[in-house]
């Protein structure tokens, strides 16, 4: 092992005394605006997204970076993606677009759609349908170059990338903005035999291994059906990795005043393929292909029995029985007894974990019978009160009234639409007691091209 250990003078922290803002007083009140407290305030990100890079841009925006989204004629495809919301101003807004783009600015440039994946809209709807595809508007390129010159990061999710599609080489990018970080997110990466293939959320989750392991239990030896979860998950993991690598690079490059362009190459496929918990290790070290099952841990064998039970109110609970040690078994019996539920589990046969494991099905049958008699909320409350790691399988509408999330301020009021504050799902963390990030109450959804004039003709990038 190469030891990097060496003691150092303290205090100083990661950067020693070199921080710009000298003062150590960040103890944040929630009232502070995010320009004061956010970690990436002052970082300028130019985003071009054809579907897989918008989440990365959201992470940057949530961390306080100034994110400018470049849209092409007709606007981002996501603007036409449902479900929609009719806001107080009378306009219909795409909720996916709102979620992924709140707090960004929008610039409309007359750039080509040539490299863009076929849209989920009829070709005749395209504003540029009668334009030759390959023609690139020189003015638009000049405008894009002006924006690049003011950016720290270009988040490039254009199909094919801006280098291949718009002819903006690394050398040109370095001329425009010495030290630029060019983050490219494509379905299969910039190299490899599949680099030019089209993909989609479903295809990415399927190729990457999520779908193989997810779905329904086999019944009587008949393999269950694989299922691909919803939520547009394929863009999330790659987006987080892109944020991680970019923030790390920002620090390192500022420290050495780098002037070359750094190209970060992210593949949606590569990212999904390393997100499947232990399935890769299972094959490499155990020659196990993994078992498809419903809502349990990764497993190379059929992990009998099921963990998910239908309750009296029709909802489901996830009641883990895998870790039913003596303490939890005692808690389970207490749960049953206090509810007046008669069961046969007090018998000596169930006294130790070793005795219980081979006859776990009997215990599971009792849990299933118990669940049928009670609501999922009751079971969740009573189980967790006894430190049983169970939860209700909740639907999004169950979550709106959640007292725990309310206490943590997870849904924060944000002026998402003009004149309308809505409870917006926050970033999944809290900075306590020194607020790392205060909510930006003005994180509205940008109208198409609303910042074009300001950014190109007037003050340039938003004063930071």
């Amino acid at each position: 092992m190469t030891a990097t250990t060496s003691p150092r003078p303290r205090p100083g922290g990661p950067g020693g005394p070199g921080g710009e803002a000298g003062s150590a007083g960040s103890a944040g009140s929630a009232a502070q605006s995010r320009t004061d407290t956010s970690p990436l305030t002052g970082v300028r990100v130019l985003e071009i997204d054809d579907g897989f890079a918008g989440y990365a841009g959201k992470v940057f925006a949530d961390f306080g970076a100034s994110v400018v989204k470049v849209e092409r004629p007709g606007g981002a495809l996501q603007r036409r993606s449902g479900p929609f919301y009719r806001a107080a101003d009378g306009n219909e807004y795409s909720l996916p677009f709102a979620y992924y783009n709140a707090g960004k600015q929008s610039v409309l440039l007359d750039l080509p759609d040539a490299g863009r994946p076929d849209a989920d809209r009829p070709d005749a709807d395209r504003p540029d349908a009668d334009r030759p595809d390959a023609e690139v508007d020189a003015d638009a390129i000049a405008q894009l170059e002006r924006l690049i010159a003011g950016a720290d990061v270009v988040l490039d999710g254009m199909s094919g990338g801006i280098t291949a599609t718009l002819g903006l080489s690394s050398e040109r990018l370095a001329e425009l903005r010495p030290g630029l970080i060019h983050v490219v997110i494509t379905p299969f990466g910039l190299t490899g035999p599949w680099r030019d293939y089209l993909s989609s959320d479903l295809v990415a989750l399927t190729l990457g291994g999520v779908t193989a392991q997810t779905g329904y239990d086999s019944v009587n030896g008949r393999p269950g059906q694989p299922i691909s979860p919803t939520g547009g998950q394929s863009s999330h993991f790659v987006g987080v990795l892109a944020a991680i690598a970019t923030i790390a690079a920002l620090r390192e490059r500022r420290d050495r005043r780098a002037e070359d362009v750094l190209t970060l190459d992210f593949s949606v496929h590569d990212s999904v393929a390393v997100s499947t918990e232990s399935y890769v290790s299972m094959w490499e070290f155990g020659n196990l292909e993994g078992f498809r099952h419903t809502g349990r841990h990764a497993s190379g064998i059929f992990t009998n029995p099921a963990w998910q039970f239908r309750c009296g109110d029709g909802a489901y609970v996830c009641a883990l029985t895998l870790y039913l040690n003596d303490r939890r078994f005692a808690a389970l019996l207490d749960l049953f007894d206090k509810a007046g539920f008669s069961h046969g589990l007090a018998d000596e046969r169930y006294a130790t974990q070793r005795q219980r494991d081979p006859i776990m099905n009997e215990i599971v049958n009792e849990i299933a019978r118990f669940c049928k008699q009670h609501s999922a909320d009751y079971i969740f409350d009573e189980a967790q009160r006894r430190q049983l790691p169970w939860a209700k399988v909740r639907s999004p509408e169950d979550i709106a009234a959640d007292a725990h999330l309310a206490a943590r301020g997870f849904f924060t009021p944000v002026e998402l639409f003009p004149g309308e504050q809505v409870p917006f799902p926050g970033m999944p963390w809290q900075g306590l007691p020194s607020a790392l990030l205060a909510t930006d109450a003005n994180a509205h959804v940008p109208q198409l091209g609303q910042d074009t004039e300001a950014l190109l003709n007037q003050e340039g990038w938003r004063a930071l």
């Binding site: 990661p14 710009e20 919301y85 996916p96 070709d123 291994g209 919803t230 620090r251 593949s267």
Partner: protein, 450 residues
């Protein structure tokens, strides 16, 4: 590397000089610190011989543990002993970042509250990873990955109409939350370095991480009162269920045919995804199938028409795919510009997938006590080079003496004494690691996020 790859790798030193004291265990927390190690941070994994990371004894054995802990050093200490506690205090004082994944309150009960950490290391970044977070009425609730997935809506949003939720077949939220925690750690490091301003505390919740990955569904429920237990949601493997009254099944894309189709081969894994997202792509798929008469119906010319006819479409497409090997099907379709890819197991990703091989997503490494094996990379490529995790893993206690000597400045005699007395090493006599029954009371509540 593995012969079929022109892979070039280089270690990354972006976080050189950052020291991370790592109290995490199981999956979520170690995923965070593993990423920090791959970016050049010095990560010291702290364990005790009586309470090692449970993954060390997981069924996938050393392989999965090593995979989760690549590039970290191992420091062992009896944190309950007075001297052990003092050693930990000295290590905190030498660290920039402290990461832990115990249940809320456990680290504080050991004497390492946030205030104490700050007193020891004034600009410390303290990152905790738990199921419900360190505040709020449910902070003491216990979760594993599947629990948090159920509670956050992740489980419900996967499945077929009219069937129970399908959830996820593994603890995706462990992997994702750990990665999110790494992003926040980096943003906190960035803030301390460039924006000044004292210590940072980051309280990461798995449940909230799950919620943040279902943002549009949350907004739809809150603003439109949408019912996600309606017939037609979740839409199985379709983009949208026929007759569902909304504009999409929350995949960020709409089209038909769209699904997972059976192919030739073993029934467990003979499936292939096909996603047609436009009329043009439908014409291409149709041509691949040989322009059969049924497919030429004008009713199928539009996305709306095809969604309405999905039952018939899926049956017909399935009758065609069942005769073709799934990889051949992908070749045929992608060559024609149709989005497609087979269901791939861990084996297929590692042994068959040519793209992952070419990009060395599972590079071979030779590790002490384990030998040469393939591990998951952190798939970040910089200027054409994959970032290479250091080819080391935390062999239990292997770095303890070096850390005591080089970082804390202890003389060899003292290092030997601490080991002999069981402060930093397995107790010389008596209790064996496996036979420990009488765990300290508060450890029973420790969260096992796995």
């Amino acid at each position: 590397m593995n012969g079929i790859s022109d892979d070039v790798a280089a270690p990354n030193q972006s976080l050189k000089g950052i020291r991370v004291l790592d109290f995490t265990w199981n999956v979520a927390g170690p995923t965070c610190t593993r990423i920090l190690a791959a970016l050049g941070a010095e990560v010291i994994k702290v364990e005790s011989h009586t309470m090692p990371d449970p993954i060390r004894r997981s069924p996938a054995a050393a392989g999965f543990f090593a995979n989760l802990n690549l590039g970290k050093r191992s420091f062992t200490v009896d944190a309950k002993s007075r001297e052990g506690h003092e050693l930990l205090e000295q290590l905190v004082a030498e660290s920039d970042v402290v990461v832990e994944s115990f249940a809320s309150g456990v680290l504080a009960s050991w004497g390492f509250s946030y205030d104490k950490l700050v007193a020891l290391s004034p600009n410390v970044i303290y990152v905790s990873v738990t199921g419900f977070g360190h505040t709020g009425p449910y902070q003491s609730y216990v979760t594993y990955g599947p629990t948090a997935q159920a509670y956050s809506g992740m489980t419900h949003s996967s499945g077929k109409p009219g069937r129970p939720p399908a959830g996820w077949g593994y603890s995706y939220l462990d992997v994702f939350t750990g990665s999110m925690a790494a992003a926040w750690t980096l943003s906190a490091i960035h803030k301390v370095r460039f924006r000044g301003g004292g210590p940072q505390r980051v309280d990461v919740s798995q449940v909230e991480t799950g919620l943040s990955m279902l943002g549009e569904l949350m907004l739809d429920a809150q603003l439109n009162g949408a019912d996600h237990r309606r017939p037609g949601f979740p839409p199985g493997n379709r983009a949208v269920w026929p007759g569902d009254n909304t504009t999409g099944g929350a995949r960020g894309e709409v089209g038909a045919p769209y699904g997972i189709y059976r192919t030739a081969g073993k029934p467990e894994d003979a499936f292939c995804a096909i996603a047609v997202l436009s009329d043009e792509e439908w014409i291409r798929l149709r041509a691949c199938m040989g322009d059969p008469e049924w497919a030429m119906s004008p009713a199928l010319d539009s996305t709306t028409g095809r969604i309405a006819a999905q039952e018939q479409l899926d049956r017909r497409v399935g009758e065609w795919t069942i005769g073709i090997d799934k990889y051949e099907l992908m070749s045929l379709l992608t060559a024609a510009g149709v989005r497609s890819g087979p269901v791939q197991s861990g084996r297929e990703r590692m042994d068959v997938d040519p793209s992952l091989a070419a990009r060395a997503v599972f590079p071979k490494m030779s590790l002490a006590d384990i030998g040469e094996h393939r591990f998951e990379s952190i798939p970040i490529r910089i200027d054409g080079k994959r970032i290479a995790s250091p080819p080391t893993w935390p062999v239990m206690g292997a770095d303890t003496a070096d850390i005591l000597r080089d970082l804390l400045g202890l003389p060899e005699t003292e290092i030997a004494r601490l080991a002999a007395q069981g402060i930093t090493d397995r107790p010389a006599t008596g209790r064996s690691t496996r036979a420990v029954k009488a765990r300290p009371r508060n450890l029973a509540a420790i969260q096992e996020t796995s």
